[in-house]
Amino acid sequence: MAEVLGTFEQAVLLAVLRLRSGAYGRAILNDVSARLDRDVAAGAVHATLVRLEQKGLLSSEIGPGTEVRAGRPRRYYRLDPSGVRALNDAHAAVNTLWRGFKWPLKGHA
């Protein structure tokens, strides 16, 4: 099995998957914040997107800007097949760890 993704990496990749054609920086930031239920720094999301793209799990392309962005373009991300594999591996790794336990755990706290 390849290197398992961290929780934040999974949150970013799943945001890209969930947002489909609307997966650009700000939308991903808001989706990750909502899913993790906390304020997330734009720099953390940006650094993760750059890292995941360098790993070949994501690819991106530039789209047009809008007036509210002062015409600055958006960078749209999409999951590559290796990104889908990495998410499947991460899910399988968690399932393997939990095998034999019933969730939620009771009585051992």
Binding site: G25, R26, A42, H46, I62, V68, R72, P73
Partner: protein, 198 residues
Amino acid sequence: MNTATPPRWADAVLRVLLAPEDRQTVSGDLLEEYRESIHPARGRRRADLWYLIQVAGFAWRANRTWAGLLGGAFVARTAVDWLLPTADFHARSTVSTTVSAGIFVWAGLLAAWRTRSLRAGAVAGIATALIGAVISMVGAALLLAIWHDAPTFAAIDGSGGLGEVFTLPVMLVVPGALLGALGGLLGGTGRRLASHRH
């Protein structure tokens, strides 16, 4: 449409911190979030603060390694001065100064190489100095919490006093900017030469 604008200088710093291919897209993302979500919900002052925190986050991520090394070097020097008192600080000062200058130049060089911007070197020097100062002050406070007996206070007085420990790191912002700019010049020139070769 909301046309509120975050502090211009913060936007300029953000752009300097980013690689050329991310400059427009990432600053656009932050501007869009600022105008559509943060400013309407929190008002001007708190929205500006949010923007500054975001920019500080980018500065932290870009410079934390060098700032950590600088802060660590300061804490190590402080510990040596307090625990191994001496009357001759020349050798220690030479080592500290050389290490600090090397960190600033290297931080500036790598920042300019990554962003292809000469100004990035100076910004990296300033950010490294500021973050390093915070690390150094926290480290010195921890040392003081552990060692606060009479011999340690005598060593502190003999090495410049507590004032120097807590103010000197902050005073490195100006030399940090200059040395970072020098590193930026080296990194920017090196990057240009490397790209000409290819």
